[in-house]
């Protein structure tokens, strides 16, 4: 990961705020700009990035050469645990999640990539501790929140923890919002990247590359992408 320009760790302690959607679409749209981007789904027990991309788990294959080279989805380099489980249920205790995560990160070949987007499960558990404390400043935390008070309370705690861990710059993306979290970002001392509005037809964008390419709210993702790739 050291050789890459930027590695983004997409986080939220609250579930259902759109981490996987934000991770996947940012990574996919970046690849559409011909940037060399990798997407790693680390939500071992509940992966969903393959559903967003419309990838059939049985068709995911990795190339082996002194490690694992990612699967290709269009121009995107893609790693998902469903390649190993074939989408069967994978019940894991925290300790096992931690081991699986470290195993996967240690065997991946990221040669030639410029950016990496890492999707994580909700919560503040073993995998988050591993990623925050073991990867340290190799990754830039990108926290996702909706404007709901249910999400904000949870996300504030996560940002507090990230600040305490001295991880450096922390980014915030507001999902299903209208820009009202700008002030909160200032208050918390994090970098506000922008918002993705609530769009009732969003499900129609998901599940195929054409759907993603033609999604009416793509521009909002592109704005965020412009900010996170501009100074690399």
């Amino acid at each position: 990961m050291k050789g890459l320009k930027k590695n983004f760790l997409v986080l939220s302690s609250k579930g259902g705020v759109g981490k996987s959607t934000i991770s996947t679409l940012l990574a996919f749209y970046a690849a559409e700009r011909n940037l060399k981007v990798g997407l790693i789904d680390l939500d071992f027990t509940n992966p969903s990035t393959h559903i967003i991309l419309g990838v059939n788990p049985v068709e995911v294959t990795y190339t082996e050469d002194k490690g694992l080279f990612p699967h290709k989805v269009g121009g995107l380099s893609y790693i998902t645990p469903v390649a190993f489980t074939k989408d069967l249920p994978l019940p894991l205790r925290g300790e096992s999640v931690s081991k699986a995560l470290l195993e996967l990160l240690s065997i991946l070949r990221l040669d030639g990539l410029e950016y990496l987007v890492i999707d994580t499960p909700p919560g503040l558990g073993d995998e988050h501790m591993d990623l925050m404390y073991k990867l340290g400043d190799l990754v830039k935390p990108l926290v996702v929140s909706t404007p709901s008070i249910l999400s904000l309370g949870s996300v504030k705690r996560m940002i507090h923890l990230l600040k305490e861990a001295n991880v450096g710059e922390v980014f915030l993306v507001e999902n299903m919002g209208d820009g009202k979290l700008v002030e909160l970002a200032k208050e918390l001392g994090v970098v506000y990247l922008g918002y993705i509005p609530y769009y009732p037809g969003f499900d129609k964008c998901l599940g195929s590359l054409e759907g993603l390419r033609n999604c009416p709210i793509r521009g909002f993702f592109e704005n965020i992408l412009g900010k996170i790739t501009q100074d690399a």
Partner: protein, 129 residues
């Protein structure tokens, strides 16, 4: 070259960081769950040690059976990778925790079990010069 190379790479980086670059004996334990090829692992360690200027004397690789224990009923059993087809074995080779998707406790059917031993690659002993 399969992913034994990347395991050897991660192993040597860890050993060099923690124990230094003059290693007299490196004793490893390889759990059968991950179906690691010992010959390829040894070859990778030798090649990578040369590339990274790490002096490694004797390398001992011991095989360890895979034992699982059910967290629900307490039943313990030995797992044999041959029980899986080649595709599943390969999945577990790369990510040993994938075994939870394919195995249940033979006594009570629970998927809540622990891998007691034999998961993958472990350092048993490092002796410095």
């Amino acid at each position: 070259m399969v992913h034994e190379w990347s395991l050897a790479d991660a192993l040597l980086k860890y050993v060099a960081t923690v124990y230094g670059t003059n290693i007299k004996t490196l004793r490893l334990r390889v759990g059968v769950l991950q179906s690691i090829d010992k010959e390829i692992l040894l070859f990778s360690i030798r090649e990578l040690a040369g590339l990274h200027n790490i002096r490694v004397g004797e390398v001992v690789i011991e095989e360890e059976e895979a034992r699982f224990k059910c967290s629900r009923c307490g039943y313990e059993w030995t797992f044999k990778p041959e029980e899986f087809n080649s595709e599943t074995r390969e999945a577990v080779h790369f990510m040993p925790e994938a075994v939870y998707a394919f195995t249940k406790c033979p006594a009570c059917g629970s998927r809540d079990f622990k891998i007691v031993k034999g998961r993958g690659l472990e350092i048993a002993e490092v002796v410095k010069y």
